[in-house]
Symmetry: C2
Subunit: 219 residues, 2 copies
């Protein structure tokens, strides 16, 4: 009797792969969880299989190589990130509210410990920043995408008349990113309870200093 990871499929599954896909998703959720704590290299096939009550080979068959597993894990983490940060922020109107939404949901993601290790991509960034290969390239691309999203929100806030048009969106995006990451660092490594509120305050001050009079009020 095989130990099913998941409940048996519903009656009318359209065609195949349903079970496999669900198992794969369950694997990847665990993989993100482990990798956020022990890193993408510390994520091993053996420990992953053990935590899911699966055999190494049965699990491994879903991916074909460790590198593929790492890539799929990164992709899953990106999906979680988008789901918790990018998408909710879109509900706010363009301009400063949406920009602040990005920041707020991002800090919220870290505070609520959606990733057990705190922040998947900060950890992955520093783990792979001086290596080569497709995993590093993918992480870098996703981080480019993220910085770009912040910069675009700033640019649109300028177009909406909420932010001084003279400021450089890219540079401001980097500053915001750095402060948030620094807050995470202080919270996670130094157990600094005020870390996130300090980061929030610092970013708010920064935004207020570049906001125009026409800008909707910030929190």
């Amino acid at each position: 009797m095989p130990k099913a990871v998941l409940a048996p499929p519903k009656k009318r599954a359209p065609r195949s792969q349903a079970r496999g896909l669900r198992t794969r998703e369950a694997i990847l959720e665990r993989a993100v969880d482990i990798a956020s704590v022990h890193g993408l290299e510390g994520l091993t096939v053996g420990s992953l299989a053990q935590q899911l009550n699966m055999s190494k080979s049965g699990l491994f068959a879903h991916f074909g190589s460790k590198e593929d597993l790492q890539l799929a894990t990164v992709e899953k983490a990106r999906q979680i990130f988008i789901e918790h940060v990018t998408l909710p922020a879109i509900h706010a109107p363009k301009g400063m509210p949406r920009l602040w939404g990005l920041v707020e949901h991002w800090l919220g993601l870290k505070e609520k410990h959606i990733f057990r290790g705190g922040c998947f991509f900060s950890a992955a960034s520093f783990e792979f920043d001086s290596r080569r290969g497709v995993v590093r390239d993918r992480i870098a691309a996703i981080m480019h995408e993220w910085i770009g999203a912040i910069a675009r929100a700033i640019y649109e806030a300028q177009k909406a008349g909420h932010i001084d048009p003279k400021v450089d969106p890219t540079r401001t995006a980097f500053e915001i990113h750095a402060i948030a990451m620094g807050g995470h660092w202080a919270h996670q490594l130094l157990d600094d309870r005020q870390a996130y509120s300090r980061a929030r305050t610092t970013i708010l001050e920064k935004l207020r200093s570049i906001a125009t009079p026409a800008c909707p009020h910030l929190p």
Copy 2:
């Protein structure tokens, strides 16, 4: 004084341990180099021995456990950090010049790639930030020490009348740290050539905004 039941141990003069110490230093220099790229977990006894043309066992005897090797590597990295950042900064007079010296030498350490992987402690911070044990504790203590050094420099700049006494040294220290680390992140992961100059400019602007008229001019 009662006579010992057993023959007293023949006390020989302690031998000099010059050779062993030199080997140990050579090992640790390599270990820092490897760990700055592959992390403290990616640092393995086998690869380290191979790069030094030593046997695994001969190398291992210097430490006794992998954890001890990691701790010694962290200590060596701290020594290099102090040598390149903290000590040179002391040559500048107290106040803003010394504070700026800390920042400048720190950014210089990263730019000159003293650590092959860019920044040993940033990488180590994020590698161990959600683990437990003595290695994590030591890294956290060193980072506390470092943040404290920046905060103290700010405080002394206030006492010297160079910085507005109303600013919070600790908070400003965290901001400076975050910006510098963010610059490193952008340079190392995103291959952003302007990353360090942008970080330098941002920190300079921050310092200028809190400087008093009595402050010696910044670069």
